[in-house]
Subunit: 165 residues, 2 copies
DNA sequence: CTCATACGGTTCGGTACCGAACGACCCGGG
DNA sequence: CCCGGGTCGTTCGGTACCGAACCGTATGAG
């Protein structure tokens, strides 16, 4: 491993904790996973979503409903990657802005079905190309082959953490 | 690219949006980055941090202070990857639990210096090995070489998103 | 039919999170 | 000496986030 590649924070960790019996490779994966993820999230929120006053999670909810169509609330939560209570809150917020609609299921009285309204659909259809352009920008320093390797390694890690899905 | 590798959600996206002129490679990188990151975070919080009633961010604050020693509050926020207002809140929480201490700087009256208390140091020293063992577990499905590639690609992406640091 | 159990969504309490705005403090120019 | 602009940490308002607890609805056992 070439130390010159390391971030300053990583070098400091090795200096301070290098003598301990730890898995520094795993540590580098997890800490860079979070650094990258939160940096990208903040950039997206600031440069794409802020003008529409949408949070990252609200955006993902609109996107999931766009891709999957009307869904039961529990499936929406699972697809977005949030808990059911959080889903309740986010859907309530989006419902208040008229972007999303709640409806009771006919077959099962416990279920709530969530779907995009017409303004919600227009919003995500207008917003997603901008969002994707920003995705392209944050990955632009990687070659197409590197992007595929990265996506594939992340997928593999995800599958081992969430065996169910 | 082998479609068999894709997650169900990714396949659905291609089916619905495949006809649009979008960068699907970048989309796969960003969405899997977030799926992996939030899955790992939830697992860590549930299996390592919940017993100590620590959030992920509180844990990272303790860890950064452990590695770097006493810091000024603005540097702490930057190192943890949160805003200054958030840092104020988290430090207040940790201060209330006696794990962290605030002190005024002698040279500059605006600055606040934050450091671990003795119980805080004991806490992070006891907790970090467990945390690292869990890090090793979530990355265990990747070979050492794959782990280094993954860490390196994430590092490269991070540097392009945050040119400053 | 009855009722125990399980499974929906929601509520509650506590924490995290950010941008904007604010007051305290620093420093350089008049 | 003072005052204007920059930099701190903090406060404020709004949203997100989770686990535990709750309540209404479904379903299977008897």
């Amino acid at each position: 491993m070439n130390d010159d590649e390391l971030l300053p924070a990583e070098r400091k960790v090795l200096e301070r904790l290098g003598h301990l019996p730890l898995d520094f490779r795993a540590m580098a994966v997890v800490s860079n996973l979070f650094r990258a993820s939160s940096a990208v999230r903040r950039k997206m929120e600031a440069e794409v979503l802020a003008t529409d006053r949408l949070s990252w999670t609200s955006f993902v909810v609109l996107w999931v409903l766009w891709v999957w169509g009307e869904m039961e609330s529990r499936d929406l939560a699972a697809a977005v990657g949030i808990s059911r209570p959080t889903s309740t809150g986010v859907v309530t917020t989006l419902e208040g802005r008229g972007l999303v609609r709640r409806g009771k299921s006919a077959e099962d009285g416990r279920m709530v079905r969530v779907s995009l309204t017409a303004p919600g659909r227009r919003k995500i259809e207008a917003l997603f190309p901008k969002f994707n352009a920003e995705e392209a920008e944050v990955t632009a320093h990687l070659s197409p082959a590197e992007q595929e390797v990265l996506a594939s390694l992340l997928r593999s890690m995800l599958r081992s953490v969430q065996p169910g899905d």
